[in-house]
């Protein structure tokens, strides 16, 4: 593997009363899209802030592009979208974009030209001379995104990039991120929505309570932790299948979502035998699909039902 763009080595960050990140290690390969996944309060934002050197880790080392420390010297190569979005409300859209690009060391003229191009691309050209305040929330998010990518960074650090976006704008941004990745940019983004991660990521790092639970290429993570999965949908009123799910020689785990159930087969169990057993139980099947685990399933299995609890405890 070529030298990773982002490296975290045993990074720890403590706050008064709790440890936000504990001994976290991570490596993001150049040109890959990596998802930093975890429930709320897992330490995603703290990790990203440490990567951006907005807060300093108490222990451990962060390396970007193989260099230690100050990401601000490298800020022309990094696009950072923080979880807390914000722009100068009283400034004109174009001016904000030019200013933010200038703080990254881009020349004024270049910044102006690129901002105009990006506004055009995002369908905001006619808004460029309006005040930020006059824009809708969705439009402001797009402007914020433009500010993140305007200086043509090699590395994108995106904290919850798609939260609060409608499906159309969400799709536009996903497409843009993938486009930038195709052009060679490395992307590290955080989310707690697994469907998004599944669509975008080459590799994932799942964290909980500030610690790595699992990381690696997406397919490998799913293979290693997913087992054999079958999606089964039965017609309503077929309570009979419940006893099939309880058969431990056949089924390791079953999650009934209502409309369908996701079933993890027991070791060595044959999907064909499951099908026969369900039919014999008298249920009418409307869907039967042998599949790999969804990332969502892997996530819930690994992080567990107590994932949403804050990381404060366990310190005593």
């Amino acid at each position: 593997m070529p030298d990773p763009v982002v490296v975290l080595e045993a990074v720890t960050k403590r706050y008064a009363g709790h440890t936000a990140v504990r001994g976290l290690s991570l490596a993001v390969a150049p040109g890959s899209v990596c998802g930093l996944l975890g429930p709320n309060g897992a330490g995603k934002t703290t990790t990203m802030r440490m990567i951006m050197n907005i807060i300093a880790p108490d222990e451990g080392v962060v390396r970007l592009f193989g260099e230690r420390w100050d990401s601000r010297n490298l800020s022309a190569r990094i696009g950072y979208l923080p979880e807390e979005r914000g722009l100068y409300k009283k400034m004109k859209v174009l001016e904000v974009l030019v200013f933010l690009a200038e703080t990254k060391g881009i020349a004024r003229r270049t910044a102006k030209q690129r901002a105009a191009e990006w506004l055009e691309r995002m369908g905001l050209a006619e808004w460029s001379l309006k005040k930020v305040d006059d824009l809708s929330k969705g439009m402001q998010q797009k402007v914020q995104f433009i500010a993140t990518v305007l200086h043509d960074p090699n590395l994108l650090i995106l904290d919850e990039p798609f939260s609060g976006l409608d499906p159309v704008n969400s799709q536009i941004m996903k497409d843009t991120v993938l486009e930038l990745a195709r052009q060679g940019a490395t992307v590290l983004f955080s989310t707690h929505i697994m469907e998004q991660a599944e669509k975008l990521c080459d590799s994932v790092c799942i964290i909980a309570h500030g610690e790595t639970v699992v990381d690696g290429p997406l397919a490998e993570v799913k293979r290693r932790h997913g087992g054999h999965h079958v999606i089964v949908a039965v017609e309503r009123g077929s309570q009979a299948v419940d006893q099939v799910w309880a058969d431990r020689s056949l089924v390791a785990k079953a999650h009934n979502y209502g409309q369908y159930a996701e079933v993890e087969l027991a070791d060595g169990a044959d999907p064909q035998r499951l099908l026969t057993t369900i039919l014999e139980a008298g249920a009418r099947i409307s869907r039967f699909e042998v599949t790999e685990a969804t990332l969502n399933q892997v996530f819930i299995d690994l992080v567990g039902p107590d994932a949403a609890r804050p990381a404060a405890r366990g310190e005593a």
Binding site: I54, A56, Y80, G86, L87, Y88, K90, M91, L100
Partner: protein, 424 residues
Amino acid sequence: MQRTWVVIRREFLAKVRNKWFLIATLLGPALMGLAMFLPAYLLTKSTGVRNVTVVDASSDQVGRRIAEALDGAPLITAHYLQTTLAAAGDLADSLAAEVGLKSINGFLLVTDQTVTDGQVEYRGSNVSSQMDMASLQRYVEEAVLTERLERVGVDPRLVADARLRVDLRTINIRGGKTTEQSGQAAFFLAYVMWFVLYIALVVYGQLVAGAVVEEKSSRIIEVLASSLRPFQLLAGKVIGVGAVGLFQLVIWAVMAKILIDQQAFFLDLFGIQIPGGRAFGLPGVPLAMVGVLLLYFVLGFFLYATMFAAVGAMSSSEADVRQAQQPVLMLIVIPALLAFGALNDPDGPIALTLTLVPFSSPIAMPIRWSVSAVPLGELAASVGLLLVTTLGVTWVAARIYRVGILMYGKRPGLRELARWVGTR
């Protein structure tokens, strides 16, 4: 440096383009003009020509001399009316009616006692005007005095000579050298400087706090913090707002100069007449004075602005700032009031202390400098102390700022702040 410059320019333009800057910049000179011309205007109003009748019930027509003296005074016309003591009562009633009709402002009742005991009575509609009464008193007094002296046989020419008024001219001596400055001009200059420094520190200091908390409450701070060092941000804010302050002061200085140079034109414009034609003279400001003023403005501004920036960084909203900035405001207001008081004894121990203590010297020293010769040793000590304190305060403020800009919620207490200063 390049990036700090970007922050400075944004801050400067954002503030200067704000409509409040325009309003304040225009309103400043308007208030200044009002302060200059209003007293002059009111003066003309109150000393507008007064119509006074002198009712003489004396036996030797002493009232005629008084009427002549009053008539000769500027802005007063006096009529003489002879009567007897017996008829004076009825005459007074009919004159009172005249006053009611506003055909005269009032009347003076002169009797024999006026010269012997100094008894004289004025009845009129303008008795509440101190200015009117003072000038009335003066002219009546002069007339009576002349009358008395002549009665004891003093030559009237001697009396006229004796009445020549004394004009006290005050001239400021600095460092053993007589200056061109009059005492009044020196005081005026000191007052203007006190006002400018005080306003600059209070207003622009609060602007810094507002600018910092605005970035926090709009949440743009994290984007900024990812590409700029906290110290670059802090320096950009403080210098940017400071530049706005200087810019506004320069505009005001230019406008003030125009107002003063062209005051005849403006006075004419409002139909105001002033004896001598000038209400104010521009005091000559020596170059060293400008230097001292600028030096202390810059150091004082950094001292307080960095504190205000720290206040902004530890707050989460405008309302938070208003509360948290109270101690810093007190730190300006109290020394400023004391410094103004020290004008009376510019070389005394109080003035010396105020010009050495770093939190009062930014205001006290330029004021003291303007009215007395400050020994160079004291100046050096004062600047040295202020410089060291400013650097120290900036260091502490920068550390508070660095942690505070990413903290939301409850404002920290003193212990929490100390921890912020101590964090790596």
